[in-house]
Amino acid sequence: MSTTLEQTAVPTGTWQADTVHSGLSFEVPYAVATFGGEVTDFDAALADGTLTGSARVASLKVKDEALQAHLASPEFFDVERHPELRFVSSEIRRDGDSIEIDGELTIKGITRPATLRGTIAGPAVDHFGATRLGLALQTTIDRTAFGMSWNMPLPNGQPALSDEVTLKADLTLVEQ
């Protein structure tokens, strides 16, 4: 008899992000559409049931050089004073392939509670024999709570840039 057991356990042991096969990005409603970018220099690990991650904000990439400079400036991330952003989990809840992770998110030197929600896949052995775990996570933050209140009014009086920003982490974690 074969039985599919509903997994509720968070994998134990130590897992490090394979950053080539992982991504960290943001999306924010801007005017009539959604604008996004990604951070390329980051690391993440799941160790003893705690997920941690940090990213170098200077590696934030958007498609326009002037905009990238504005995002690095004191009006947004203030990269000179706050070069890193961080997440440290406090509790991970798994229900099958759904996962919720409570923790503290630090951006621009300001730490706020955040809950990441998404899916977990694996563990599974890859074609090179390594054991991988996939986490697709996202959360929505109010950027003004992290000291980023820049805006511009549209001709209709509405602000051009949403305060709500979705952060996404697509992580491939490799068992160490």
């Binding site: 050089e65 002037a66 400079a69 504005h70 400036s73 004191p74 009006e75 004073r81 961080r86 030197g109």
Partner: protein, 185 residues
Amino acid sequence: MIRVLGISGSLRSGSHNTALLRAAAEEAPAGVTLELWDGLRAIPPYDADEDVVPGPPPVEQLRAAVREADAVLIATPEYNSSIPGALKNALDWASRPLATNVFRNKPVAVVGSSTGAFGAVWSQAETRKVLGAMGARVVDAELAVGHVEEKLDAHGRVADDDVRAGLREALELLVAETAPALVAA
């Protein structure tokens, strides 16, 4: 020694805003010097065709003055509810190239005065907006000197204690912002 560069948005020889900067130099706390930049008149109109390396000599002199300063104090009048053209033009030149411009991460305070009641508040707000877009570290100094001619003595020197206190406060905010790495991450 912390070096503050004073930039007046007015070219007028008897400028009230230049008087504010002279008073700020007198009020500078120990360890702080304020030097007035007097090159505004020589800055040509911004022209992207002329925006090459090096730029026009007066522009390069402005860029060098800002680069060498630890902080900048701008005192601006208000023309038609906004920034005087000459000042905006100088900031536009200084902002190039945007990603590495000399105002990037530079602590800057904006103050202003007018002969009307409001003390150039709109011009100040727009100057702060421009500086923010340039990547400057704009401090929360608030000094809007209305009816400024009543606050100067017969020699054009600022004679008002509240205005002098406001200038001291602006300089103190600038000094605090020049302190190395306030927060590690």
